[in-house]
Subunit: 253 residues, 2 copies
DNA sequence: CCCGACAATTGACACAAATCAACGTTAGTT
DNA sequence: AACTAACGTTGATTTGTGTCAATTGTCGGG
């Protein structure tokens, strides 16, 4: 029921495959997007031994909470999560959305406690990788160590891009950038890049982009009016991707 | 960076020690703030062997530029740098300021090329740590590997805090938070936490905080008027640190 | 020491996005 | 199927910060 609508022409969707949640790394559908990319046969098996596959999370459930003792990092197998921090005065700040193949929990390494909370936006399956095992394995498999360093570095770059977005761009540009980001992540998953369902609410979008819900809503309306987007609640269809790209990076403040 | 307790009681300033730029790690004044914290005697020597200490950078010189081939990470020994990215349309986004004991360059790991440019705000001395050597050493010294993972994780957390600041806080709160951050970094260096010279221009501050120069200037004026700060160009004196803290985290938007 | 260039401050005004308010829509529950 | 609470949209109004402009202050070089 949370299944992404899928054009009949596209191959199998990567979502809600609750039946395959015990599949090992070498047969996983998203192995090409996950840690194994850095590894060959033997090493994948070693990784496979430390990976834990739990039961799926239901919408609204927590994968971990801010302050929880850090023990593992997680790879999204199917579904979507949001990560957020709670400020001193109790407000939330969404720091990211996580799609299949993406890794979360790395902010917990620094203080041995998660610095953010991760919550399922829909039914979610994850692979859990105990960090201590990953550390040991990294010391013996150089390419794994390298790859993990790269993943963390990549997270830093992503955060810096968000900083730039928040600091320099208008409401319209921020929303456009998010839609484009989701679109390219859909493409990475071999799903339609132009027609998809947003897994998060307007509140989450606004929170993530540093805007109010009203502003987000108005931007969607405007984009629909100029025929760049077709918006039906959470269903999005990109009508003019170049127009959207233009909205995303030109005409700043 | 979290404050690491300083065992030695030497009150010497940690700045502009151009004469000691060949000192080895175990005798370095900022060793307690740097990678060696994770190491003991023998291992410090191993680290010391891979560390390179070049000649100081003059104000305005570049440590590395966006797109340069990534080879090393750097630890600031003395002085201050700023890191920034250039957006597609040519504007700068300052992503961080780096004080002695702080590490920069980690954003280059992901793509084997720096994702940002680092420029000296004043005369700067750095230690260069070739990444390939650090990788090899990490595989043999578990505590070094762990520490380096933690450093990267810490950078992620810092970036997320900046994201929150930009997304949720007013101009006044942003400036207050930056001053408090610099203040605590001064304290970490055993320098005055209440009286210091800002190494960066108003332009850089505004750029970092997502504000215009004019707004930054106005906020400083206001804070001076309510006797929280004394501002004389780049010289700052904090008159009421609790007042400043209150400005930083209450009365949001 | 004065000059020029750049950095910082201040004021007047404009505007994008927040806030306040009302209403329509969706989805989950009984 | 009806109910309800949360979510989403739209309009009117306010406000914080950006923009433009003018002035003063600071620093390095000849």
């Amino acid at each position: 029921m949370t299944a992404h609508p899928e054009p009949s022409s596209t191959p199998l969707p990567y979502i809600a495959c609750t039946h395959d949640f015990r599949v090992d790394c070498s047969h996983c559908r998203i192995r090409s997007l996950c840690l194994p990319v850095a590894l060959d046969g033997d090493d994948i098996e070693k990784l496979d031994e430390i990976v834990q596959r739990g039961t799926p999370l239901q919408k609204g459930q927590y994968l971990y909470r801010e302050g929880d003792r850090f023990q593992s990092i997680y790879v999204v197998r199917s579904g979507t999560l949001k990560a957020f921090r709670t400020t001193d005065d109790g407000r939330e700040q969404v720091t990211g959305f996580y799609f299949p193949g993406e890794i979360l929990g790395m902010d917990g390494i620094s203080k041995n406690a998660y610095a953010s909370t991760a919550r399922a936006l829909e039914t979610v399956a994850v692979c859990e990788i105990p960090f201590s095992s990953l550390e040991k394995l990294s010391a013996v498999i150089p390419s794994l160590q390298r790859h993990f360093f790269q993943l963390m570095s990549h997270e830093i770059i992503e955060d810096q891009m968000l900083i730039t977005l928040l600091s320099k761009n208008s409401a319209e540009q921020r929303v456009a950038a998010l839609i484009l980001s989701i679109s390219s992540r859909q493409a990475r998953l071999k799903l339609s890049a132009t027609k998809f369902r947003l897994p998060m609410s307007r509140i989450d979008i606004g929170n993530y982009l540093g805007l109010t819900v009203e502003t987000v809503s108005r931007v969607f309306s405007r984009m629909q009016k100029i025929a760049v987007l077709e918006v039906d609640n959470k269903e999005i269809r990109i009508l003019d991707i170049d127009g959207l790209r233009r909205l995303a990076d030109i005409g700043g403040r």
